[in-house]
């Protein structure tokens, strides 16, 4: 054997050293290929390991069905507050704020935390999501000033979270909606609101201002995830895109119930959604009524969701049925994304979606418990 190898080496005209160098080189080449191929999937996973462990820890602290059921069966709002005081995530805010405010702060802080620890490649989208608190606070300011509320009452409406909270708090003692917009000068929201200010001045309603903020938020969110270069970003784009499409569909359905036409609806739409592109949205806006909108959606993933509740809508005439079905669709989609990429962005999306659902459900329960003898069965129906 050894002689055979030595013969081969000498027949190739190689010295022992040259043969050794070739073997070494072959190993370097093979090794490099193996390392590159083997480590590629790890490079995808690695940035998500730390944030995923953290969000999964928080996911483990979310209320399960049994706990939500216990809360639904509580006798009054104080019982709900006392129950939540047993959970550190909520307890720290309940000592200083009302229940609803504590829930909003917790959700705002969650967005902020996720935006800070998300991997760089997807961080922009989560940073946009964290702006929700600021947008909610600006809306509260606008509503308060439209209603002529004073500083104290306006402060009550503000959620003490978000990057603009301190600045917004200073605006709580201004007198008018126009003053609020002037006070926002220098922020990214000022030009958005100034653009629709004439609409407010004409109608005296803050709705165009609120819609402009919503439109700005969703457009920015969609733009932040619009270059899906790998699977994680593709999932994020789908998750964000679904939200934009659902917001557009909800708006169109509401508008059709109110009998509004294309010209009235189009200023409030996000021009190009995810699955519903500009031409499709035009079709939907031009539909005669709710049934026409749902027919036009055929072939999209939203069609089945809405068709399933159409008979119930025809009986009750409640557009809230569609909204609930679409909300459930968003939650189910997020759940499927979390299972599709558990070692990537899936865990973060799954957690955020479930946290939103938890806070929304807790608010529903809290609101119901403020009413006298609100039926438990009705609360269960309202839960997401």
């Amino acid at each position: 054997m050894a002689d055979g190898i030595a013969t081969i080496i000498s027949s190739l005209g190689l010295s022992n050293e040259a043969f050794l160098a070739i073997v070494l080189l072959a190993f370097v080449v093979i090794g490099s290929i193996v390392v590159i191929v083997a480590t590629r999937p790890i490079l995808d996973i690695y940035p998500y390991l730390h944030p995923n462990a953290r969000v999964r820890a928080r996911k483990g602290r979310l209320f399960d069905e049994k706990q939500i059921s216990e809360l639904v069966e509580a006798n009054n709002i104080d019982e709900i507050s006392n129950y939540l005081r047993g959970f550190p995530d909520y307890a720290e805010y309940l000592d200083n704020y009302t229940l609803d405010k504590a829930l909003d702060i917790q959700l705002g802080e969650t967005y902020d935390l996720v935006s800070r620890m998300a991997p760089k490649e997807v961080q922009t989208s989560f940073k946009v999501m964290a702006k929700k608190s600021d947008i909610t606070n600006i809306k509260s300011l606008l509503t308060a000033k439209e209603a002529g509320l004073g500083k104290e009452a306006t402060d009550e409406l503000l959620i003490p979270t978000g990057s603009l909270y301190d600045d917004l708090q200073h605006l709580s003692d201004v007198d008018t909606v126009t003053d609020v917009i002037a006070g926002l000068d220098g922020t990214e929201y000022a030009p958005i609101l100034e653009e629709v200010l004439p609409d407010y001045e004409k109608t005296g309603m803050v709705l165009p201002l609120e819609s402009a903020l919503d439109k700005y938020y969703l457009s920015k969110l969609l733009a932040s995830s619009e270059t899906p270069s790998d699977e994680n970003k593709q999932i994020l784009y789908s998750y964000v895109g679904n939200q934009v499409d659902v917001a557009n569909i909800k708006l169109i359905l509401r508008a059709k119930v109110d009998g509004l036409d294309y010209e009235a609806i189009s200023p409030y739409m996000i021009d190009s959604g995810y699955q519903l592109r500009e031409w499709k949205l035009k079709d939907l806006m031009e539909a005669e009524d709710v049934t026409g909108v749902i027919s036009s959606l055929e072939g999209t993933k939203y069609s089945d969701v809405l068709t399933d509740v159409l008979p119930e809508y025809n009986e009750t005439g409640s557009v809230a049925l569609f909204e609930k079905a679409l909300d459930k669709f968003l939650v189910d989609s997020a759940k499927s994304y979390s299972m599709k990429k558990p070692l990537g962005i899936g865990s973060i999306i799954g957690f955020l979606s479930q946290k939103e659902v938890e806070v929304r459900n807790l608010k529903i329960i809290a609101r119901a418990k403020r009413e006298e003898d609100f039926p438990i069965s009705k609360i269960r129906e309202m839960l997401v």
């Binding site: 073997v23 390392v35 790890i42 390991l49 999964r56 820890a57 070692l343």
Partner: protein
């Protein structure tokens, strides 16, 4: 310059491959497990001990590679001044190194991913600890196969004994 026989030099390559690739797999795996564990400990201090256990699991591949590398160095005459290996035994030594090296690379990375995922599952649900250990231990088998074959190659390839 030290005069080293070709067989011995080939065994040195085998030793390098053994610890090099096994160590790479172990390092990547341990890095993944540790990154997940740090995230878990940041949320729950009680996760420290369990995080350490899961982070230590992918260490074994490097140990296997290290053992094989030492054996190759000793029995090839590089350490301890033996008579050196024949050219044929030297080629076998490369196979020995590749066996544990590549098996350890795959095993270490796989174990790291499973361990990181298990840490995430445990911090979400405490009852997942035993099942997490079982799933994380599964990718160990590939390293054991590589280690066994490496030993067999050394025994029957004329390196050991």
């Amino acid at each position: 310059m030290v005069d080293i026989a070709l067989g011995t030099a080939l065994a040195a390559i085998g030793a390098g491959v053994a610890i090099g690739f096994a160590g790479l797999g172990s390092g990547l795996g341990q890095g993944m497990a540790a990154a997940g564990s740090v995230g878990a400990v940041a949320e729950d201090n009680d996760m420290f001990a369990r995080g350490i256990i899961f982070s230590a699991l992918p260490e074994t591949q490097a140990i296997y590679g290290f053992l094989i590398a030492i054996l190759l160095l000793v029995f090839s005459g590089l350490l301890g001044g033996g008579s050196g290996l024949s050219d044929t035994a030297g080629i076998v030594a490369i196979g020995v190194g590749a066996s544990i090296g590549f098996a350890g690379l795959g095993s270490g990375m796989g174990q790291g991913m499973a361990a990181a995922s298990s840490v995430g599952a445990i911090v979400e649900d405490n009852d997942m600890f035993a099942r997490g250990i079982i799933f994380s231990a599964l990718p160990e088998t590939q390293a054991i196969y590589g280690f066994l074959i490496a030993i067999l190659l050394m025994v029957f390839g004329g390196i050991l004994g």
